[in-house]
Chain length 107, copies 2
């Protein structure tokens, strides 16, 4: 596919993601487009194994706000969670691991 209309005829090669893939990417970017969520995500994604939500309270946010942000990260498929007794434990997904590596490469 190329675009040649307009003032000039520069060929614009397009190998954009498919619509469904672009949708997934924008959902992930939306989830990380907030500094608190980005920090929470990196805390989970850089931990060795899973992290108890009780250990994710050092971001200056109330626990309900932290839970809200974690829900967004989970809905975007970046982290998964498991409740054990009182506490919910979070771990990074395989997709989240790839995105973590790319985010850190941009730092």
């Amino acid at each position: 596919m190329s675009l040649t209309a307009g003032c000039c005829s520069v060929e614009v090669p397009i190998s954009a993601p498919t619509a469904s893939h672009a949708e997934a990417l924008t959902t992930e970017f939306k989830a990380l487009a907030d500094t608190a969520r980005l920090r929470l995500f990196l805390q989970i994604a850089q931990a060795d194994g899973e992290v108890c939500v009780c250990n994710l309270d050092d971001v200056g946010l109330s626990q309900p706000t932290v839970s809200h942000h974690l829900g967004k990260l989970r809905n975007a498929g970046l982290v998964s969670s498991e409740r054990r007794g009182t506490w919910v434990h979070y771990s990074v997904t395989a997709r989240g691991e790839r995105i973590r590596d790319l985010v850190l490469a941009l730092s």
Copy 2:
């Protein structure tokens, strides 16, 4: 820095980006957290050289809407623009090139 309070004492190593860096990252993620902008960005970022805005009208959007999205990409530092006569020409920035490569790696 590590977090040890709470129900357990798992060490959570944190090498999160600095605040200013996290701010830049979230601005970039916000700019790409929209399928139309993601497509426009990739059209520019995958072109060989600069792209005339007149060649970016194949995304099913009106020209004012395209211009609005391009302004967001420019404000996020992902693309730069130059007006020559009637038309504005866009090219990817060095930072945008890095992000393009990472986005494509996720596809």
